[in-house]
Symmetry: C2
Subunit: 458 residues, 2 copies
């Protein structure tokens, strides 16, 4: 196979350069790229633009050795030699002249099979594939550990925002209790438009689709599946737990109305779709600390003073709480070709350096930790009821909360002709208790409608 940048000779070639890397020798690392869509194409461009700078800073020449695509005949833009393109991805991962694999095909198969083959050949793998990691992450991590090579995936959680490396390295000694993020730009854009322009959900979605922020079929974004996959990845890394996409409880934003947002704003909150991974300490019989993990995605009311409340438009942010580090937040672009490729490139340089130094980043282990069902997780809640405007109704409603031991933090009443709207914010209660409360409230004759229920984050 020809190399993308010619003239450097064979594998492991060393050549002198006039700039001054640490040991004045440049090592060439040949990259096998699987997939050349938005992210892969951006990566190829960036390697063309920055290859010399990267070489000057690291002593590593990153060279595209092969690009596996579905159709080799498509025009892939200028600067890309046709000789590099192949439709035989299996040959790329098996090629002894390829040192590192970058997987940006997406989806489960054939990505899974190709990554496993690459790892079995002791080739480090960089992937941006959140769906694959959220479903088969443990299998891939085990394969990387067995091969003692790198499996890096910074781009899979929040694209350009460095969150995996900080969680996996900087915070490895920290007692992290909660990781909470706005990790889907489409829904944050929609909610921001609804908040700032008073737009309806349907109109904001249509605009997001017209701008290319949302897909024609927006289900994966608006129903929280995309955020759920990222939540599973972040929970696995933050807590060393084995969390898969199926373990994540999720609700989307399609039920949120302009009225809900206006109410939230009036009470001092922003509505955000949050991915939350939380660690709960439990008392074991022996008195030793044991843990459970809760992982969920749902819209939430976030207090205006909270750093996540000011994350607007298509920006993402991940908020981390640690016993000693305190509150941390990582903010930036969580999607897009170039931001995603930027994270892939950081991982690629890292893996290339490790390959040259014959080392790798071991994946931190952790004991198997049970997943706590959503019913047993606690939160404060916002509830919104339409009730008959008659004496005794509030007492009856309050009685239902009391019967389920849900304590009311604040209540606001508003006249609506011959009806009234009651807006409640509760103290912490379990999901089970709030759901029973809602069911009993809906059964009351005086309650004409039960509006959106939202968890409250302060």
């Amino acid at each position: 196979m020809n190399s993308f940048r010619g003239g450097t000779g064979g594998r492991d070639s060393l050549r002198q350069v006039s700039t001054e890397p640490a040991d004045a020798q440049v090592r060439t690392i040949r990259v096998g790229l699987l997939g050349c869509g938005t992210v892969g194409g951006a990566l190829v461009e960036m390697l063309g633009e920055r290859g010399d700078d990267i070489e000057a800073r690291t002593g590593i020449r990153l060279e595209i050795g092969a690009i596996a695509v579905r159709s080799a005949s498509k025009n892939r833009g200028s600067g890309l030699s046709g000789d590099l393109l192949t439709t035989d991805a299996r040959a790329v991962v098996a090629d002894p002249d390829i040192d590192v694999i970058v997987e940006v095909i997406g989806g489960i198969e054939p990505a899974r099979e190709l990554i496993l083959a690459a790892l079995a050949n002791r080739k480090p793998v960089i992937t941006a594939n959140k769906e694959l990691l959220a479903n088969c992450g443990q299998e891939l991590a085990d394969a990387a550990a067995a091969a003692r090579t790198d499996l890096l995936f910074e781009a899979a959680a929040a694209a350009a925002i460095p969150i995996i490396r900080p969680l996996r390295e900087s915070l490895l000694g920290e007692d992290v209790s909660r990781v909470m993020g706005i990790v889907n730009g489409t829904t944050n854009y929609i909610l921001t438009q609804m908040t700032e322009l008073g737009a309806d959900y349907a109109d904001a979605l249509t605009e997001a689709q017209n701008l290319g922020y949302a897909e024609r079929d927006p289900t994966a974004d608006v129903e929280g599946y995309d955020a759920g996959a990222k939540a599973a990845i972040m929970a696995s890394i933050a807590f060393g737990a084995k969390v898969a996409a199926g373990d994540v409880y999720h609700e989307g934003i399609s039920n949120i109305s302009a009225a809900d947002i206006a109410f939230a704003n009036r009470l001092g909150y922003q509505i955000k779709l949050l991915a939350i991974a939380e660690r709960f300490e439990t008392e074991s019989g022996s008195g030793a600390s044991e843990y459970e993990i809760g992982v969920r995605v749902h819209p939430a009311m976030v207090a205006n003073e909270h750093p996540l409340a000011s994350v607007r438009g298509s920006f993402n942010a991940v908020f981390v709480e640690g016993a000693d580090a305190g509150e941390l937040m990582f903010y930036g672009r969580g999607a897009g070709g170039r931001p995603t490729a930027s994270a892939v490139l950081g991982d690629l340089i890292d893996a290339a350096g490790n390959k040259i130094r014959e080392t790798y980043h071991p994946v931190p282990g952790g004991p198997a930790v049970p997943i706590r069902p959503i019913d047993d997780q606690s939160s404060a809640y916002y509830l919104n009821l339409e009730v008959a405007d008659a004496p005794g109704v509030l007492a009856e409603v309050a009685g239902v909360f009391g019967a389920h031991e849900v304590s009311i933090r604040s209540m606001e009443q508003e006249g609506l002709g011959d009806e009234a709207r009651l807006v409640f914010v509760t103290h912490e209660a379990t999901e089970r208790d709030i759901q029973s409360t809602l069911a009993d409230l809906a059964a009351l004759d005086a309650v004409h409608g039960v509006g959106t229920m939202l968890r409250v984050i302060s």
Copy 2:
């Protein structure tokens, strides 16, 4: 020397544990701690609390082998064996039973000499010493490179906020144009109190001193020296440049009045003390890109919509702009014993793992880049003049701006009895031009007073 945690036998001892690290073998790494003040003490406590968790996740047992202190007789709190304490720091860095050195003494000497000795002995070093790194960073980096061992200092830039590792690893392939941070909690606390309570500078400083956020002699914080040291470190890492504390232009916040803050707020800005490291592309004769670096610390007006504007109280944040990653922000606790120790612990686990795998993180190189003097750097500016309330004054004032080719973006006039206040925001201009403009304005008879000049960030 006795070890902090007994019973594990000699150096390099391996023992089986019931949890499941990757290869079911635990390696012990002995830590030599230089200094046991707030940060060192917190680190010792955290190793006591988390040692088992860290071992379960990494297979590494971190053991304090020796603690060098100035006075061994002081009570260092419970859990700390007196046998570990020594006043002979040189013996600790020379001790073949010590694998890794953590330096939290602070100041230039003896910290510099001890770190160089440790690196010469091929012991990885973790330091939180911003003063030393800002003044002698290049010497230490060269020594680490020569010894092919780790010199890690996440804690030195913004304590618990992971910023060095993301800049050095995640963003190594990124074209970073600017790093801009609120990196001093004392001044941000003072400015927040002035903003939210309308407090005077002197009162806010006194309160910060009473709460322990500011020193009795607050000069290092309020005049920007502390932020300047951090700016030098971040510039060096972000741009691979050799920037020392002396290269940093700095102004502090002691001139900022409650009136300046009220004006800024009215115009839609917050006043923040910013540390800014910027890379400027210059045209070389050959047409190739060349660069200059500008590093400066000064108060600035930050537009309310900017993510840095909402960083309140003693919190810190670093905002990074990259060509492809886009805008990133890292937010958290930039000071304090436990937050700083948390960052040290992350580095310590990293260095211990590298030591075991016989590898290290090479320091990215970079060409020598000239420092651009402050006079040649550009910004938008806010100016505030007290002038005679008479016809023709505005024309005269505007003429001075024009003579220096400083273009006015907005002007606001306010009556003050028989005087008027003119508030200007300019378009981008060089510092040299704005300073000449200010000098000429001050010389006008109609100008009775020139108020605070502030750079404007949008």
